[in-house]
Structure formats: C-alpha cells, structure tokens
C-alpha cells in the first residue's frame, strides 16, 4: 500500500514538472511535428526523412531560429500503422501543440491523417511523389504529382527512345493504380492501341517474378520497341530487376523506368543487374550544383556516415521546410490560416540549381529529371525538362478530374472547383 502511494507521488511530480516546464518554455519555442514511421515496414524509407527534418531544424536554430524563437522537433513514431498515423497526428496537434507537421510517406497514411488536419486546421507538408486527385486546404504537396514525374517520363520514352509498346507494372495499391489509369488514358490519347499496353499488378513485397518477366519478354518480342513503366513499390524491385537480368533482358532491349526507385533503395542492393535502367525524379544526388554539394556535405556530417545518400523526398522536405520558414517570417506568426495565406507564391531555391514556388493549388514547381542507374548506385541524368513543371492536383487525362481545378487563394478557396458546372464540390 505504501509502495503504491509512493509511485503515485512520483508519477504526479513527474507530470507536474512536465506541465510546468512546457508552460515555462512555450513562450520561447516553436514546435515542429515530425510524423514518420521509425519501426515497421516503412521505417526503411521514413527514418531518413526524420533525420533530414532534425538536421534542417538544427541548422535553422544555428541561424537564430524563427521569429526570434527556437525551433523544437517533436518526433513521434506511427510504426507503419495507418490508423496510428491519425492518432499520432492528433497527439501532435492537440497535446504537443505543434505549429506544422512534416510527415507521411504512403498515400494511405496521408489519407488517414487528412481528416485530422482538416478538423483541427493544422498544416501538413507531404514530401513524397503521389497519385494526385487530391487537394486539401491543410496539406502542402512538396513531392511530385503525376504530371511532374510519370507523364514526362513517358514522353521521354516515346520521343527519345521511340517506345511503341508499353508495360505498366505496379504494386497493387492506390498510387500505382491511379497513376496507371492516368498513364493509360494519356497513352491512348497519343494513339497507342489497346493491344500495345499491358497492365500488371502484383502484391506488396512480391518476390517471385519468373512468369511476369517471361510475359514481359514475350510481349517485348513482337517487333516494336518496348519499355516497362514501373510503379513497383520499393522492396519488390530487387527480385524484379534480378529476374530481368537472369532472363537476359538488358536495359538496351527493354528499358524499365521506375518511379519508386531512388538512391536510398539502391544503397541496399547489388546494382549490377540494374545498370542502364531509368528512374524519373525531381532531384538526384548526382546533380552537379554548389547548393547540392553543400546539402550533401551537411547531411553526411550530420548523420556521421560517409556512405549515406540523399534522395528526392529529402529534397522535398528541404524545400517544404524552407517554404514554411519563409511563410512564417512573412506572416509574422505560426497561425495556420495566416501561414496558409502567406505561403502561396513563396519561392525558395531547390537543390538542382533552380527555384521552387508554392502554387495556389498547394503543389510546387519542379524540374523533371530522367536518370540512368550507374554501377555505383547513383543516377546519371540523361534528360530533363526545359523549365519547371507546376504540379497539377487534378489530372487532365482522367474523365472525372479534367474539369476540376484547385485554388486556395482568398476569397476563392476551393480545392475541387468544377469549371463546367461552376460549382465547388466538397471542401470549402
């Protein structure tokens, strides 16, 4: 009995000091939420982004913080568990009182936290390429929309390589399915016949690619130049490329262009069978600019490991964080509504030597780069768009979404305005 009482007292004291400390410090700090999985399946990709955020915040603090206050990162672990993402988001916003959240990787996790951010009117910066068809007042999409990755990649294959037959291979979930729907509609609009498009879905972590690769080989032997557009998710890629190599398909016969294979994914595998295959991103570690060299140097010294790499979602966080900092400075406050209004039109440098601007639809402008995989696990840029491409929330190639536009500027403030009916459906 006595013991229990003692524990209670300890707990009470602990909580009280905690609360007091928080109150005492609340005046001098701005809290930034970091919502990335540190355990479970997605830890492989998301841990790096958490470290990136910590580095950016540390750097900003060295520069004197923000609005004269110190930034403090609040890191939580949603453990690759989609419903847990929503709970942790609520915890960050309501309990920890963060000013903005940087996080999520998979589309499911974003869809899971979306209602929380809208309900509590907070801000989420989402750094990963995604399938589009979404625009929220509270979310800033700093990764690529399909027109900033998939469509330019297909154009490259069509015009530069002369591809006539297409395999759209993807993992069976929302991003590949939507992207492939857009790509199919786009290819059909360019006069590609239905029999020249092969669509294939595989489960998460698929490892037995024998018959699918044999099918691709057969499909590619029909006399027309064939390419694979792959939305295959991270893990399943290694056995896929291995099987391609073993069955004698080289990047010269049938090139594969991937949207989910980056430096980080390549660092864990034997890259021999992948050399010459392509990836489309908005940033590569091999981009030769001073600002990128500086970023890489900072990253390597922060993480204290010379072998680590940088990748596209890291650049997205770099851009997103700098945009948020600038918007807060412009608004003079971290209040959600004020920052939302201030951030549209904000322009910050990206790492490939250009600038990224926040568009009224909460997407940003990006260059599109096509890289070939080299034997050291890096990419060599072989093609890039002439200028910047603005992210399009609603695809122009899908029947349901081509009439929709998104513009969050006051007083329009609508994420899905139908230009045909002249109505704003849904969120206002």
């Amino acid at each position: 009995m006595k013991k229990r009482f003692m524990w209670l007292t300890v707990a009470a004291i602990f909580i009280m000091t905690n609360v007091l400390m928080n109150q005492a410090l609340a005046g001098d700090i701005i809290k930034v939420g970091v919502l990335h999985s540190l355990s479970g399946t997605m830890a492989i990709s998301e841990t790096t982004l958490k470290d990136t955020m910590l580095m950016l915040i540390e750097k900003q603090n060295k520069k004197g913080g923000l609005l004269g206050k110190k930034l403090e990162a609040v890191v939580v672990d949603p453990a690759s568990n989609w419903p847990l993402f929503a709970e942790k988001a609520r915890e960050l916003i309501q309990k920890k009182k963060v000013s903005a959240v940087f996080g999520c990787w998979t589309s499911v996790s974003r869809k899971s936290v979306l209602p929380v951010f809208e309900e509590l009117n907070s801000l989420l910066f989402y750094p990963v390429q995604y399938e589009g068809e979404e625009s929220s007042k509270n979310v800033f999409y700093t990764g690529a929309a399909p027109n900033q990755q998939a469509i330019p990649a297909v154009n490259y294959l069509m015009n530069e390589i002369g591809v006539k037959r297409w395999v759209l291979a993807g993992t069976d979930y929302v991003y590949p399915r939507t992207t492939n729907k857009i790509l199919e509609a786009y290819l059909r609009s360019k006069g590609v016949a239905k029999k020249d498009i092969m669509i294939n879905y595989t489960p998460f972590g698929h490892s037995d690619w024998q018959s699918i690769v044999a099918d691709i080989k057969k499909f590619g032997s029909a006399g027309k130049k064939t390419a694979v557009v792959s939305t295959i998710n991270g893990d399943a890629n290694v056995p896929f490329y291995k099987e391609l190599g073993n069955q004698g398909i080289s990047s010269e016969n049938i090139p594969v262009v991937a949207f989910s294979v980056g430096e980080e994914e390549l660092s864990g595998i034997d890259t021999k069978p992948l050399v010459g295959h392509l990836a489309a991103w908005n940033y590569f570690m091999s981009v030769d600019t001073d600002i990128n060299d500086e970023f890489i140097e900072n990253w390597l010294s922060y993480i204290k490991n010379k072998k680590r790499v940088t990748n596209d979602p890291m650049e997205a966080h770099y851009i997103g964080f700098n945009m948020w900092v600038k918007a807060v400075e412009k608004a003079g406050t971290t209040d959600s509504d004020a920052v939302q209004e201030a951030i549209i039109g904000i322009t910050v440098p990206n790492l490939s030597g250009g600038y990224a601007a926040m568009m009224p639809n909460h997407h940003i402008t990006k260059p599109v780069l096509i890289g070939e995989i080299q034997d050291d696990g890096q990419f060599e840029v072989v093609w890039q768009t002439n200028g910047l491409v603005a992210g399009d929330a609603w695809s122009d190639y899908l029947p349901g979404s081509k009439d929709l536009i998104s513009d969050w500027r006051y007083p329009f403030e609508c994420g899905n305005f139908n230009v045909k009916t002249g109505k704003c459906s849904g969120q206002k």
Binding site: I44, G205, Q210, A222, D235, S267, D270, Q374
Partner: protein, 546 residues
C-alpha cells in the same frame, strides 16, 4: 515528323556503315594515321560534351575518323574508363588506384600522372550510345580470328536484324568458313529472302526456316503475313508459323513447369523447418519467418567478413546460418515455449511477440535498410536449352539445394538415433518417455533442428529477394499453407504439397494474375481442408488421434 525521323536514321546508318568500313580496315591492316587527324580530335571534343546528342555525333565521327586509336576509345568509353579533365577538357584514359586516378592523354598517349577524382569528369554513356557502340564492336568482331567471338557477334546482330545490318551478315557468308557461324549467317540470308519478290526464293527460305525458334524469325513472319500478296506463299507462311507456334507452346509449358517447381522449392525450403516443429512438438511458431531472416542476415555478415570470395562465403553461410538460427531456436524453446506446452493460443501469441522482438532487434543492430547480399557469378544468368526456353541459374541451384537439404533431413530422421528418438516422441510421447527417451531435451533439439533448417532456407532466399527486417513475414503464410496442406509432421507431404502448390500457382498466374492466383490457391486449400482436415498425408498411429 515521321519521315524526318526516318531520314535521320537513314543518314545515321550511312554514316555508321561508312565509318565501319574504315574502322574495319583499320582493325585488320593497322593503317598508320597522322597524329593530327582532325576528325578524331573533333570527335573527342564532342565526347566531352554533356549533351547526349552531341556525344552520339562524336561516336559517329569517331567511327568515321579512320584512326587506330578509335577502337581503344570506344572500348574505354563502354568500360567506364574514359574521363576528361574538368579544367581543360582534355580527354584521358583513367585507371583508378585507390582514391587517385592515373591518367593518360587519348590524343598524345602521354602519361599525365596521378590526379584527384574531383578534377576529373567521367564521360557517361546512355542506352542509345551503348547500343550503338556495342553494334560497332560486334560488327568488328565478325572479322575476329576466334570463331566463338564471331559466332557471338553474329548471333547478337541477328537478334537485332534490320535493313541496315542485314547485308553485312549476308556479305560475310562469302568468306566465313566456320560451320556454326555459317548457320547463323544462312538464317540471316533466309530471312532476307523472305521479303524477296520471287515466290520461289521465298518458299525455299520458308522451307529452311520451318521449325526455327529464333525470335527474329517469328517476328518477321508475323509481320510478313499481314502484307504478303502471293496466295501460295501466304499459305506456306501460315503453315510454318503454326509449326513454330506449336513448338513454342510446348516449350512454354515446360517453362511454366520449371517456374512452378522453382517457386515450389522456395515454399518447401521455407516450410520444412516448420513442418518439423509443428509436427513433432505441435507448436505453432509464428517466429519461424524471423528465423529465416536471421539465416539471410548470417549470409550477409559472412559476406562482409570475406568480401573477395563471394562464392565460398555462400557455402560457409549454410552451416553458419544453421548454427545461428538453430541456437536462437533452442534459446526460444528453453526460455519461452517450454512453459507453454499444451496451450496453443498462448504459444501463438508468445511466438508472435518474439517475431516482433527479433524484427526490431535486427532493425536496431543492422539499421532498417535492406542489406546488399551479392550473387556469385555462377548463380546469375541462365542455361539456354533453345531460343525460347532457358533455365535461370539461381533457380536451378536452389532447386538442387532443396533436394540436398531434403535428403539430408530424411537421412537424419530415418537413420540416426536422434531421428529415431524424435520420431518416437512425436508418435507417442508418454511411451517414448517410458522407454527412457528424455522428451524435454528432444523437444529442444527438434526445435533447434527446425529453426536451423529455417536459417538454411534464409541463405537460399538471400539470393532471390531483399535481405531486410521484413524478409520473414513474406514467407510465413506460405509456409503454414504448405504444412497444413501436406499434412502435419510429414516431410514427404511437405515436399509434395510445396511443389504442387508452387506449380499450380504458376499455371494459374498467366491468366488470373498473381494476386488472384494466390487467392484461388488459398480458397482451394480451405475447401481441401474441409474434406481432409489432416492434409494430404495424415499422420498415422495412435498419437494422430489423440
């Protein structure tokens, strides 16, 4: 747009061919070129450009430069040894010696001494350039003194036969003496005859090509049948095509069978350890997948320790993985499962918890990133049976590996005293104890054996898939499926169940897709279990009933 593209290709081909003739001449008779060959100098300038179109033009110029050094430049370019100095854009051959590069000027052949990497820029190639260079090299190789090299070159050109290179192969027919190479060249000439305007020639070529499985023949014929006017020729094409298609479908059947057996062999490898623990001690071990993963990580660690002999490290990894996973298995048995015998639900939960612990432990020790396990040379590529049917090497090796592991396990169970005791305990625990078998230590040993086999499976899987903390999860469901279907505790049942499920999966997959195929197999097993709850080969004896 289209015609423009056409003319561009045409001029490129002309340029290439003319360049080749020069290069070919250079290669065979080593004409001495003047040091100030301006085409050569200019082509180097183009190669040092960032723009790939300019690099391509550089290659064309190089081919046309009539310079003996071109061949070395092309070879260095494709081997990634051609660099330029950032400061003055001098193109050099570079040899890496640790962090320092030893460079020699391409133009003068002068040694420019060691230089730091940052001052150099590698001249990169893309797919188009590589294809182009390989074509050039292959065309040169047609005149190589070694017949094997000529054969390879001829085959590669045949694979990519077009208007531009058809004539080269046919012209080579006049001088070629090697029988094997001639065969390839004759096929090329027959394919050329297919589009001839004389029906007799066409029919003769068709007769020669009948039953030929080379993809380019099939491709040409399918295109030809659309355009051919002559009725008798068209009928003949149809007949030849039908013949080829039948042969192709026969080999396609064998291919699917091989795919199925190889997937089945993975199933069996993953499941067989589970069959032992599940069968003998009746424990549902949810951490089985993680023991497989630990086997794969053992392979990774051993490869780290001996980075220069990848093949040997794989052989060493087999016993090492067996020991590591086996020991972890015994520890799990002694510390957790032992206290939960006869309480299947609790065991299930406890082992599931252990699986999470092991996963997170690996994440903390090795990082959540996947680790790179290298494949030895002899396990990549494939054995070609004929043009449409080849067996991938890694799958063949794993299939053989399974048979070795399986027969080894059978030997242990049937011929050793430990095996005898294990079987005794599994058939009737109390009777075995009455006969003086120490059941508790047999339990631990059996669990260790099952876990060890899981580790061995991990070595095989490290060659096929990602080595990461989630490796095990992907295989646990399949393993349970196989064990339940085959009949609990029956090694032969596991083998047959695994192989047949794998094969069935691969035969369903082509028309149902991989997702639906998996669902169909699961549905089948559920129905099957309704009819035969003990699986394919139920355990006999009194224990089975109890």
């Amino acid at each position: 747009m289209n015609s423009l593209y056409g003319t561009r290709i045409f001029t490129q081909i002309i340029a290439l061919i003319s360049g080749l003739i020069f290069l070919g001449g250079v290669f065979t008779s080593t004409v001495y070129a003047k040091p100030e060959n301006s085409t050569f100098t200019n082509s180097l300038k183009l190669l040092a450009q960032i723009n790939y179109k300019k690099k391509e033009a550089g290659i064309d110029m190089l081919a046309a430069s009539n310079d003996p050094r071109s061949i070395d430049v092309v070879k260095a370019l494709i081997g990634g040894k051609l660099y330029y100095v950032k400061k003055n854009k001098v193109v050099v051959f570079a040899n890496k010696k640790e962090a320092i590069y030893e460079i020699t000027s391409v133009l003068t052949g002068e040694n420019l001494g060691p230089i730091k990497k940052r001052k150099l820029k590698k001249i990169n190639t893309n797919n188009r350039i590589r294809t182009k260079i390989k074509l050039i090299l292959n065309r040169l190789n047609l005149n190589h003194p070694e017949p094997q090299v000529r054969l390879k070159a001829a085959n590669i050109i045949l694979e990519d036969l077009n208007e531009g290179n058809k004539d080269i192969l046919i012209a080579k027919l006049a001088t070629e003496t090697n029988v094997e190479v001639r065969k390839v060249l004759v096929i090329a000439s027959d394919i050329a005859d297919l589009t001839s305007s004389e029906p007799e020639k066409q029919l003769k070529a068709l007769g020669n090509l009948s039953g030929c499985l080379i993809p380019v023949v099939y491709k040409t014929l399918t295109q030809l049948i659309e355009t051919e006017k002559n009725k008798s020729v068209k009928n003949e094409i149809r007949a030849v095509l039908a013949g080829i298609e039948t042969r192709r479908s026969i080999f396609a059947f064998f291919e699917t069978l091989f795919f199925g057996l190889s997937q089945g062999s993975i199933f069996v490898l993953a499941a067989i350890g589970l069959a032992i623990t599940f069968g003998v001690i009746g424990v549902i071990n949810m951490a089985h997948g993680e023991l497989i993963m630990i086997g794969a990580y053992t392979t990774f660690v051993i490869q780290l320790l001996m980075p220069n002999s990848i093949g040997l490290s794989l052989f060493l990894a087999v016993p090492a993985a067996f020991i590591v996973s086996g020991c972890i298995g015994i520890i799990i048995e002694r510390t957790v499962i032992r206290f939960l015998y006869g309480r299947p639900l609790e065991t299930l939960l406890a082992t599931f918890g252990i699986s999470l612990v092991l996963q997170q432990a690996v994440r903390t020790i090795f990082s959540p990133l996947n680790q790179s396990v290298k494949t030895p040379e002899w396990m990549s590529g494939s054995i070609m049976i004929n043009e449409v049917f080849s067996l991938t090497m890694n799958r063949v090796v794993i299939l053989i590996f399974l048979l070795i592991v399986f027969s080894g396990l059978l030997l242990v169970m049937k011929k050793t005293s430990i095996g005898l005791r294990v079987r005794a305990v599994s058939q009737n625990r109390n009777m075995a104890r009455a006969m003086g078998v120490h059941a508790a230590s047999i339990d631990a040993l059996t669990f260790g054996l099952g876990s060890g086999i899981a580790g061995v499976a991990g070595v095989a899987l490290s060659q096929l898939t990602n080595v990461g903390p989630n490796l095990g999860q992907a295989y646990i469901i399949d393993s349970f499926m196989v064990v339940v279907f085959g009949g609990v505790g029956n090694l032969w049942g596991t083998l047959i169940a695994g192989l047949s499920l794998g094969t069935a999966n691969k035969f369903i997959e082509p028309f149902a897709g991989p997702v639906l195929a998996k669902i169909l197999i699961l549905v089948f097993i559920i129905i099957f279990i309704q009819k035969r709850p003990m699986g394919l080969f139920p355990q006999k004896g009194r224990a089975a009933v109890a």
